[in-house]
């Protein structure tokens, strides 16, 4: 059972770097430049059926 650690822990390390890279992509794409908008989007959502 313990041997699974030798697979899972390196995997989790790899996952950390992968998620880090995904976040970096989002950041670089400007997703976090405007932190005020999402608060307003809740009020302005377009839920009217088209």
């Amino acid at each position: 059972m313990e041997t699974s650690l030798y697979l899972l822990i390196p995997l989790s390390v790899a996952l950390v770097f992968l998620i880090g890279w995904v976040f970096w992509r989002a950041l670089d794409g400007g997703q976090f430049d405007d932190l005020e908008r999402p608060a307003h989007d809740v009020l302005m959502d377009d839920d009217k059926p088209k």
Binding site: I9, S12, V13, V16, F32, D33, D34, R37, M44
Partner: protein, 784 residues
């Protein structure tokens, strides 16, 4: 419309409302925070399609795709931004339209084969707003890079900390039970090491860089203890991992980094926001102007304008430079500079300030000052200068923080030596970082500057906030401060059956063409009868015929020559006489500002002693003091005497705030603890005062006093908190009561408290409202 009968102020508004509803945007009406503006006749936008004009602000993404950033004008609330974005997205050919709610800019990309920039801009016009492209400023890009890099560091630290905590958990649970094999433990350590390394090397780089820069200058900065703490902890843990023996605390290191960065990022966010407020003068300068070439106009970049150019400013457009009106009658919204949202009437000869909005009719203006010489730019520089001088209290706190840093490092070294445990030293270094002391005030000062500016007062030295807050006495000058600095009729004495109003109308008709300084007193009277055979007798007066009868206005002697008798009233400045009879005498004086009486009264109510010191005739000054119920006054004072008056008050231990016109009373302003100048006229840049009331409104004085009290109160609270926290945390960490991670929580919580406290309303005397970032010129109702 929308299921109910709606009233519109005009057909234009109705059309706009129909366009909004027909587009399916009625949500706007549910979410908006107030009535919209009246759409004015706006200048054509086709000029923006010109490739030459586009070079500065349109980027070519691919062969057919163009990109530009637009400034959205007339935005008042989030609903406006949403509406603009929806309208932009409906334009055929627009590939992408993103409105940033924080900066109130729109970034759009469109297909040049399908649409043109002018069509996009017109879509915004159609829903009642205005937009124009602009070239991004360098500062904006810098701020964005700073923000992104801060977030990226924070994320790496936060995510790293969580992950490392998972690897540390088994060791904590297992502690001594021995169910975890040595190999598994080593694996966890190596994984933690691998993830903590980028957290330390990348996320904490700003701390190391700051510490290193100061170390090279043989100084210690606030980053030094943090850098030392993190480096020591990481080195010890790394060594333990490599050697395979000893304690590792990667989880604590990553968590310390995350919490410290979180506090810093929050501070950066608040600082950038306050900075944008402060910067808004420069932001709103239009990038284009319509310059006359002969009889026609051409659109040129605003920075190419030169003094002497004639420029057409359309209704609803912003004035591109400082200048005077040559043709046209309109009104302008100067709230950006003055904080006063009431429109100011503009006619030929009136001064226009760059950045203000021309509201009603097109105006032709002659440019006088452009770019860096404009009033808006001068105010911007004054405000920037404010940061160079900090209140004494803040300077003392900074020196204390510096000294505290040495104490912290010495204590950490001692604790390490005494206990032999590096983790106690790390806890001391992290827990008692005097960051909160350093964070306590800059944010408050920046916010105070921005809010004062929004209310028409430019703070040029932050240090003055302290004196303003402690002020016990307010010394007011008369001319130009309590008064408007221009003549007005104070009293009319009538000597015939012709009433006072008619006498004034006669006088105004006669004086209409006179250039005598006192003639300006009559210019507000209104339309008078027609005058024939007007003759100007320089220095004496004016003679003319009204309804066939000879009338004279001017000096006593000049009028006595036709009146034939000595004047019944000897002390007036201007007389009016007909053949053989006296008509009226006018007492002219410098008109009191309408807000003078309430402002003086409110100052007295605040418990301030108000003084009136003037170089004018003592009798007049005394009379004015009585009207304003000011007990302490001095008339006929020379500049030297004014200076001594203030010095005498200070010798009694009073703290004096002096309000003057800023030009003639420079010495006394310099002597006073805090100086405030009325920003009338054009020479804002030459005023030597701590605060310049840019709107030339005395009422802003109250805001200045209220805000300075509020700001200094927040600064004191923050400093008090930071000191109290450190006084508790230092011994607690040194004696090993708190571990490194607890120290990190304490330290970041302390920073957060300070930052959040700094974001509280500065002005408690009045309900706080966020400074509006757009203009709201006319209170006229519109779209239903």
């Amino acid at each position: 419309m929308l299921g109910a009968e709606r009233a519109f102020c005009c057909a234009g508004c109705e059309a706009v409302a129909r366009a909004i509803v027909a587009g399916g945007f009625e949500k706007y009406y549910e979410a908006r925070e107030g009535a919209g503006l009246r759409p004015d006749a706006l200048p054509p936008v086709q000029v923006y399609d010109d490739p030459a004009a586009q070079r500065e602000f349109v980027a070519t993404l691919s062969e057919d795709v163009r990109e530009a950033t637009l400034i959205l004008d007339r935005i008042r609330c989030a609903a406006c931004l949403w509406l603009n974005e929806q309208a932009l997205r409906r334009v055929p050919g627009v590939i992408r339209a993103d409105v940033n709610f924080t900066t109130q800019r729109a970034n759009i990309a469109w297909d040049a084969r399908i649409t043109r920039l002018s069509l996009v801009l017109e879509a915004i016009r159609a829903v009642g707003y205005d937009a124009y492209p602009f070239a991004p400023r360098r500062g904006d890009a810098l701020a964005r890079r700073e923000w992104r890099s801060a977030l990226w560091r924070l994320f790496v630290a936060g995510f790293g900390a969580m992950q490392v905590m998972m690897y540390a958990w088994p060791a904590y649970v297992d502690a001594g039970a021995g169910t975890l094999t040595a190999d598994a433990q080593a694996l966890m350590r190596w994984a933690s090491f691998l993830i903590t390394t980028p957290v330390v090397l990348f996320s904490c780089a700003p701390f190391f860089r700051g510490a290193w820069l100061d170390a090279r200058r043989r100084r210690i900065s606030l980053d030094t203890p943090i850098a030392l703490g993190i480096a020591a902890g990481f080195a010890a843990s790394a060594w333990a991992t490599l050697a395979g023996a000893g304690e590792v605390y990667f989880d604590s290191i990553a968590m310390i980094a995350f919490l410290l960065l979180a506090a810093r990022t929050a501070e950066l966010f608040a600082r950038q926001k306050a900075g944008r407020e402060l910067d808004r003068l420069a932001r709103w300068m239009p990038s284009f102007a319509l310059r006359f070439v002969g009889a026609s106009t051409e659109r040129v970049p605003a920075h190419l304008l030169a003094a002497g150019d004639r420029v057409l400013v359309g209704a609803g457009e912003r004035v591109p430079a400082d200048g005077v009106v040559e043709e046209g009658v309109s009104s302008a919204d100067e709230s950006l500079l003055t904080g006063e949202s009431r429109a100011v009437a503009k006619h030929a000869g009136a001064a226009l300030v760059g950045g203000s909005v021309n509201l009603e009719q097109p105006l032709v203006m002659r440019v006088q000052r452009t770019g860096a010489d404009t009033q808006a730019a001068a105010i911007g520089r004054l405000v920037e200068r404010a940061a160079a001088s900090r209140p004494l209290l803040v300077e003392r706190a900074d020196r204390l923080a510096q000294r505290l840093t040495y104490v912290v490092i010495a204590t950490a070294a001692l604790a390490w030596a005494a206990s032999g445990n590096v983790w106690i030293a790390v806890a001391v270094l992290v827990a008692t970082c005097p960051c909160a002391l350093a964070l306590a005030s800059p944010l408050v000062l920046t916010r105070a500057g921005a809010q004062l500016l929004a209310r028409g007062a430019a703070l040029t030295r932050s240090r003055a906030l302290e004196a303003l807050q402690r002020a016990t006495d307010v010394v007011l000058d008369k001319t130009g401060t309590l008064t408007l600095g221009r003549p007005a009729i104070a009293r009319t004495a009538c000597f015939s059956d012709i009433g006072a109003a008619q006498c004034r109308a006669l006088a105004a008709a006669l004086e209409a063409s006179s250039s005598h300084p006192l003639a300006r007193a009559f210019c507000n009277v209104g339309q008078g009868p027609t005058v024939q055979a007007l003759r100007n007798d320089a220095g004496q007066g004016v003679e003319g015929r009204i309804d066939g009868r000879r009338v004279r206005i001017g000096s006593q002697r000049f009028c006595a020559a036709i009146a034939g008798s000595p004047a019944p009233e000897a002390k007036a400045q201007v007389y009016l006489a007909g053949d053989g009879r006296w008509l009226a005498a006018f007492f002219i004086e410098d008109a009191l500002r309408p807000e003078a009486i309430p402002v003086v009264r409110s100052l007295a109510r605040r418990g301030l002693r108000v003084h009136l010191v003037s170089g004018d005739d003592a009798a007049m000054v005394g009379e004015l003091a009585r009207r304003l119920s000011i007990e302490a006054w001095a008339g006929g004072a020379t500049p030297q005497e004014k200076f001594e008056y203030v010095a005498r008050l200070q010798a009694e231990g009073r703290v004096v705030a002096m309000v003057g016109d800023g030009l003639n009373d420079a010495p006394v302003l310099a002597r006073a603890d805090a100086s405030i100048a009325m920003g009338a006229g054009a020479d804002v840049a030459q005023l030597h005062a701590d605060v310049v009331l840019t709107g030339d409104r005395l009422g802003a004085l109250e805001d200045v006093l209220a805000l300075s009290r509020g700001a200094m109160r927040l600064v004191r609270q923050n400093l008090g908190w930071a000191l109290a926290y450190n006084a508790v945390a230092l011994p607690a960490a040194a004696f090993g009561f708190i571990g490194p991670w607890e120290a990190a929580i304490g330290m970041s919580a302390s920073s957060f408290i300070v930052v959040l406290n700094a974001l509280r309303p500065l002005d408690t005397a009045r309900p706080w409202k966020p400074a509006s970032t757009s203009s709201s010129p006319s209170p006229s109702p519109s779209y239903s």
